[in-house]
């Protein structure tokens, strides 16, 4: 049995910054299914990378303590020997593959472990079959959706037969169905293959009956606290519905819109007008084309049909003018930032804002405080934690306040408190400035009740959901 433990860890990214933890002790119990919660920026990813032996090799420094795998310092074990014991699934699905296709990716990992060619073939087939991913075998990884990519990453870990699986916010870009599926797969691996699983997730819903250990890490914590499992029951709240409103008029509309990626059709013949002063939720399973719809509205993806602003076709606008009207918060935070430091990112928006009368310095400062970004303002955007990056992106776009704003997974990695603060800011700005905001969010808990309408994308149809379960084609 493999024992992975952290003893007296004090870790810092750089000499000038305070340590992320101080003398932290943590031991992963064998065969358990652990859930680690904690607010964004508290150091969950950092801890995971230390446990996986990636830090300090890839950044920062250990000031005291060490992580040991079966009594040996993990930093001294060669990666191929380590991978059979402990492997990690990352926050950003698309950036964990070196190869082009699913088959090549699994093969790459197994070749690293120096297995025989016969065993490699067997393990690839077994892992793909076990997770029901056979049909993806020769697909190109870049054509898969975020959720599908995470399942391939899990298949890679399964094929490597790693005993301990660390998952760092694996569901940030995965829809509820995909999340349930992955959780069920993981539970099965724990029960039948006696794998040890530890997940960092800001959202504790859906873990009741699955996780058997619950841990909590608070900001600059000395220790990881173990919480009773009944806290998970509390998180499993009933499904709250969208607070359906009748739709206002709006400026941005599309008619007979059709979308496709290569030969795969995503949307056929859709008509809709984004209402002003209202918040919409765009829902749908992984890979149905939600992000592609956003890309099309931003003129970043080809489409058929027409997209108009105040009855004028998007194609008649210069891209510069269009971008002025239609803003977007990208799914990948690093696609958003145009300045190096967090503070200048916000200042830039304040200067170019459509509504400087609303976004006064006082209001901006209040927003920074409510999002808990005050003490990271002098940091480089790209070095913030996943959740902090999301909050910074959101705030900089809200301050810009374009008439139409599309938010692609703006809440990924946010803890409950930050989520509430973010939603409050969005809601206020939408009402006060009559913005049209459409949000893609896989997380529904704590989100849907703030929404005014919901558009669902499934089977190439965009449907406006109605109060009493009725549906209307959009």
């Amino acid at each position: 049995m493999t024992v992975l433990s952290a003893d007296q860890l004090t870790f810092s990214y750089d000499d000038q910054k305070p340590a992320v933890f101080k003398k932290l002790d943590f031991k992963i119990e064998n065969g358990t299914f652990g859930l680690l919660t904690g607010p964004s920026g508290c150091g969950k990813s950092t801890l995971f990378k230390l446990l996986a032996g990636l830090y300090p090799q890839y950044g920062g420094q250990l000031l005291t303590g060490k992580v040991t795998l079966d009594g040996q310092n993990i930093a001294e074990i060669v990666p191929f020997a380590r991978a059979g014991k402990v492997a990690m699934l990352f926050q950003n699905p698309s950036r964990q593959f070196a190869m082009r296709t699913v088959q090549e990716q699994l093969q790459f990992a197994l070749e690293n472990l120096q297995l025989s060619p016969i065993e490699i073939r067997q393990r690839i087939s077994a892992a793909l079959t076990e997770l029901k991913l056979e049909k993806f075998r020769s697909r190109q990884l870049t054509t898969l959706s975020g959720g599908e990519q995470q399942r391939i990453a899990l298949a890679t870990i399964l094929a490597m037969d790693s005993e301990i699986i660390l998952l760092d916010e694996p569901f940030a870009n995965v829809d509820p169905h995909g999340r349930q599926q992955l959780l069920a797969d993981l539970k099965k691996l724990q029960q039948t293959r006696h794998k040890t699983i530890l997940i960092a997730d800001h959202d504790p819903s859906g873990y009741a009956g699955i996780a058997d250990r619950l841990y909590h890490l608070s900001v600059h914590a000395e220790q990881i606290e173990r919480l009773p499992l009944k806290n998970l029951q509390l998180a499993a709240t009933t499904n709250v519905a969208v607070n359906y409103q009748s739709l206002n008029k709006g400026s941005l509309a599309w008619q007979q819109l059709q979308l496709a990626i290569g030969p795969r059709k995503l949307l056929t013949g859709s008509n809709f007008t984004l209402p002003e002063g209202q918040l919409g939720l765009l829902s749908g399973a992984n890979g149905t084309g939600k992000s592609t719809l956003f890309a099309a509205i931003c003129q970043q993806h080809d489409y058929q049909g027409s997209i108009t602003f105040q009855q004028k076709s998007a194609q008649k606008f210069k891209l510069k003018r269009w971008a002025d009207l239609v803003g977007i918060v990208f799914q990948n935070s690093s696609d958003q930032f145009i300045s190096l430091k967090a503070a200048s990112e916000i200042n830039l928006s304040a200067k170019a804002s459509h509504h400087p009368e609303y976004w006064t310095q006082t209001r901006i400062d209040q927003a920074i405080t409510s999002l808990n970004l005050k003490n990271v303002l002098d940091q480089v955007c790209y070095q913030l934690s996943g959740g902090q990056q999301k909050k910074l992106q959101l705030l900089s776009m809200l301050v810009m306040a374009p008439p139409v704003l599309l938010l692609d997974e703006p809440f990924a990695g946010l803890d409950a408190e930050s989520l509430a603060a973010a939603l409050a800011l969005i809601k206020q700005a939408t009402k006060a400035l009559q913005l049209s905001i459409l949000i893609i969010s896989h997380q529904r808990l704590g989100v849907v009740e703030t929404m005014d309408y919901e558009l669902q994308l499934s089977q190439q149809q965009l449907t406006l959901l109605q109060k009493d379960g009725e549906q209307k084609d959009a």
Binding site: F90, A98, S116, P117, T142, M160, L319, A323, S334, D335
Partner: protein, 226 residues
């Protein structure tokens, strides 16, 4: 895309390309340049490369060859006609030599072949491979970067360093994440890996490479035809 076909092993072709390409820079023979062009064309025909692509590549290079030829003819010293033809044909000799490798093999095949036969480091091979696999996304990324600036009231033009800074930062981020993931998947620098596919290389092909390179050098520097 149909699978590219090559008759000689990719590593051997690379060695021939470099082994002749380097002395080619010092040779002063129009006839040898033409001979290389001719042999390379025969090899490309034998490998049945796409005729259309080959013609396009050759046409694109024409202004370069003409430019070389013209400038040596006008500004050269000594036997200007000879010099002009040397430099004019050299462009095509280089190009066709290169095409014998690039048009008959894929990046993946080339890298794996170099890894197996010339002991190119695996870190280099997989790093490059990952970069090539990401190429398709770079274009999308470029459009996104431009749009992300536009929505904030900034314009990135092709000549602005800010644009490249963003692309470099994004690439650094990607490569950092990817390196961590590869390590987590057991990739270890300098350690052996299983070789799933073998890239056959009969010994006679090495012999052929040596003969070709030596006879080129002998012809270029000892016989020295016009």
């Amino acid at each position: 895309m149909p699978k590219k076909k090559h008759l000689l092993n990719t590593a051997v072709m690379t060695v021939i390309m470099l082994g002749i390409g380097l002395p080619l820079s010092f040779s002063l023979s129009v006839k040898l340049n033409l001979l290389i062009c001719l042999l390379a064309i025969f090899y490309l025909i034998a490998c049945r490369v796409s005729f259309k692509t080959a013609i396009i590549v050759l046409l694109v290079a024409f202004p370069l060859a003409l430019g070389s030829w013209w400038s040596f003819l006008v500004f050269g010293t000594g036997d200007r006609w000879h010099t002009a033809w040397i430099y004019g044909t050299r462009v095509y000799a280089y190009l066709l030599l290169g095409m014998t490798v690039t048009m008959t093999t894929s990046v993946k095949e080339l890298l794996f072949s170099l890894e197996e036969h010339l002991h190119l480091s695996a870190t280099f091979v997989y790093g490059l491979l990952a970069a090539f696999n990401l190429l398709g996304r770079i274009k999308q990324e470029y459009r996104q970067i431009q749009y992300s600036a536009l929505i904030r009231g900034q314009v990135y033009h092709l000549w602005q360093p800010g644009l490249y800074l963003r692309i470099i930062l994004t690439a650094l981020n990607w490569s950092g994440d990817l390196a961590e993931a590869m390590t987590s998947q057991g990739f270890s620098e300098g350690e052996p890996r299983t070789q799933m596919q073998h890239d056959p290389l009969p010994v006679w092909q090495w012999g052929l490479a040596v003969i070709l390179i030596l006879s080129y050098c002998w012809a270029a520097f000892i016989i020295r035809p016009w």
